[in-house]
């Protein structure tokens, strides 16, 4: 783990994963971009009000044989709501994402084997061939913006960061996401899993529950 100090307030800022290039100071909420061993402050993240997620930084869980710990969060908003993308670090140093929306949980891994299709070529109902991983069908396409970020993340997740998120469904519970951001396109493959199957620990307490 790499520990640097916040250029704004001097508090410790931890980087548990080598893949992390961005962090939010847990003390002063400065958003920080990491240049090797230096941190550059690019802004401040305003507090989140009205949050109803049971996950938090530090939550651990299991997906198939992978044990993971949540180390960062990106909350995105779109026309009809929000969802959370929790950045997770696996025991062997690999990273993955836990997507959480309205009680649905999907765990997915970065996928590089097949070049993603262009955004313009996709529409709901179209299929995408991910080679050995199979054929996936586009379920929805949403323009979204980052409304909140915390912890450490593998890219600059300043509030307002715009992207287009394409959700695809594969065989049974398999899912894929293609994220089209200004500078890059990223593909993730994974599957939905029931809350209980994750065997989450260190969940956030929700008032009244």
């Amino acid at each position: 783990m790499l520990t640097l100090s916040c250029p704004s307030c001097g508090a410790n800022v931890d980087f548990k994963s080598k893949a992390s290039l961005f962090a939010v100071c847990s003390f002063c909420k400065s958003s920080l971009v990491r240049h090797d061993m230096d941190l550059e402050k690019i802004g401040t993240i305003s507090d989140l009000i009205d949050d109803m997620t049971p996950i938090q930084i530090g939550t651990t869980g299991t997906f198939s044989n992978d044990k993971f710990e949540v180390i960062g969060r990106l909350k995105v908003g779109y026309a009809d709501g929000y969802w959370n993308e929790w950045f997770a670090m696996l025991g062997d140093g690999r990273v993955a994402w836990l997507a959480e929306a309205q009680g649905f949980y999907a765990f997915c891994y970065p996928f590089f084997d097949v070049a993603p299709p262009t955004k313009a070529s996709l529409s709901v109902g179209k299929t995408v061939d991910f080679g050995k991983k199979g054929i996936y069908e586009v379920d929805d396409i949403r323009d979204c913006k980052c409304v909140y970020s915390e912890g450490e993340l593998p890219f600059n997740a300043q509030q307002g960061r715009a992207s287009t998120s394409v959700d695809l469904a594969g065989f049974e519970d398999e899912m894929a996401t293609i994220e089209y951001a200004a500078s890059e396109t990223r593909v993730f493959l994974g599957a939905y899993q029931d809350f209980d199957a994750f065997q989450f620990k260190n969940l956030r307490h929700i008032d009244g529950w």
Partner: protein, 456 residues
């Protein structure tokens, strides 16, 4: 973008201090003044809820909008519905706690059929629905996976006739447009009174697959029948005054269907066993002729007390077949008598009639009756026997003396007991089948795709 959720939200609360003592045991309710009427409106789950209904004026308010924009105003003030489960009550279903946070009345646009839906929430497990339709309840979970199209149609359509998931095949039950008629409480989407969505239901009782779709998305959900008593217990509802619900729900299990499913294999194997046994016994039956008597009779006369010479019946116990033949032709021959055991005096009385009529009328040629008549006596002990008989006959045309024959056969192949067994063994399964069919006919009578009605 409506509501601008992409914009940063202004902080109006201090971050929670991690060392604060025990967390509150009730939801942190947020409230604001209704944009339409000014009455206080509470949001129990801010952050998850997108729209809320004002209790006093029934306006639907967009809570993601900073100005609390009104989505629909003062709807249905005259048309009020009361949820069976009050809002904000909690109950355990399948071991998990759920809170009722929203209530909707929806209708099928074409048939004007109304039903009620409750939105359930648990911050860890998300959302579920309970639908209530004339005393029948269904617990609904949205699913991400898609059922397979089983209709084998070459064209991919959104609502095929049959779909399959997890090795269960579901048959289309209803297809139409569902409309939101009335809402109370809070919702994770912007609920719009009067909004319509295409929908279809597929059933395989006690489960149901439903789809709601438009041009941009299709949402599948899996519904399971839940007993009304279970709902009442879970949410501690007062017992209903009127407990009468006729017919059967779309996916309500029928006790007879369950009985029939359990019984049919057992029944079939029992019938198979009986048939094999009957074939075996009839194949081993000796069928010996014990007595062959030929007698004379003059039509239209009675003859009493003919004694037929003694004969021996073999074996300890077996059946006896008596066959009568008389050359009747538009006439009858009647015989009554008894077979008597010469040693014990045990008597087996019997009556037989040989009659045969034929002719022609406006419908053509007809005939009825038979010149031969057989009867069977079962479990007759072995020994020496004789027959005592009386005869009687009637004939208008032929009054000449004629001959009748009476044969006694021992240990003949018999299907008599077989058919009795088949009958007894079949009563209960056939009853279940009839009752099951009655339930299934009732179930499908509410469907546009009723398989019990042929298209005409």
């Amino acid at each position: 973008m409506v509501g601008n959720p992409g914009e940063p939200e202004l902080p109006d609360e201090k971050p929670v201090d991690p060392v604060t003592p025990p967390p509150p045991s009730t939801p942190r309710i947020k409230s604001f003044a209704c944009t339409a009427c000014g009455a206080p409106v509470a949001i129990r789950y801010p952050g998850a809820t997108m729209s809320v209904v004002c209790d006093s004026c029934h306006s639907v308010i967009d809570v993601t909008d900073k100005n609390y924009e009104i989505l629909s105003k003062y709807f249905s003030k005259t048309d009020t519905w009361k949820p069976t489960i009050p809002l904000n009550t909690r109950g355990k279903i399948d071991g998990k706690m759920w809170e009722v946070i929203g209530f909707m009345v929806r209708s099928d646009v074409a048939s004007k059929y109304y039903w009620m839906e409750y939105l359930l929430f648990n911050p860890y497990y998300g959302y579920r629905f309970l639908t209530e339709d004339k005393g029948r309840w269904i617990f609904v979970t949205m699913i991400k996976r898609k059922p397979d199209d089983l209709s084998f149609s070459s064209v991919r359509i959104k609502t095929p006739m049959k779909v399959q998931m997890d090795k269960r095949s579901y048959r289309i039950y209803n297809r139409g447009i569902s409309k939101v008629e009335y809402v109370l409480g809070e919702f994770y989407w912007r609920v719009v009174v009067g909004s319509e969505v295409n929908s279809a239901d597929y059933i395989d009782p006690p489960q149901m697959l439903s789809i709601e779709y438009d041009d941009t998305e299709k949402i599948w959900s899996l519904g399971k029948h839940i007993d009304r008593k279970e709902v009442e217990t879970a949410f501690k509802l007062p017992p209903r005054v009127n407990n009468m619900f006729f017919g059967i729900g779309a996916i309500e299990p029928s006790a007879y269907t369950a009985d029939w499913k359990k019984m049919k294999l057992l029944w079939a194997s029992f019938l198979g066993f009986l048939t094999c046994a009957a074939i075996f016994f009839s194949g081993t039956a000796k069928n010996t002729l014990a007595s062959d008597y030929t007698g004379n009779f003059v039509p239209n006369t009675k003859v009493n007390d003919i004694t037929i010479p003694k004969f021996i019946l073999e074996k300890n116990s077996a059946n006896v077949q008596i066959s009568l033949y008389a050359p009747v032709s538009n006439s009858w021959f009647y015989l009554s008598g008894e077979m008597v055991n010469n040693t014990t005096g045990a008597s087996y009385p019997f009556e037989m009639t040989s009659e045969y009529y034929f002719g022609t009328d406006s419908d053509g040629a007809w005939s009825e009756g038979n010149a031969t008549h057989q009867l069977e006596l079962s479990s007759v002990p072995g020994g020496e026997y004789y027959l005592n008989i009386d005869t009687e006959s009637g004939d208008f045309k032929n009054t000449n003396q004629q001959q009748f024959s009476l044969q006694v056969r021992r240990n003949v192949p018999s299907w008599y007991n077989y058919w009795w067994f088949v009958f007894l063994v079949s009563i209960s399964p056939i009853y279940s089948w009839i009752m099951m069919r009655r339930d299934e006919v009732a179930r499908w009578s509410n469907s546009d795709f009723n398989p019990y009605v042929s298209d005409s």
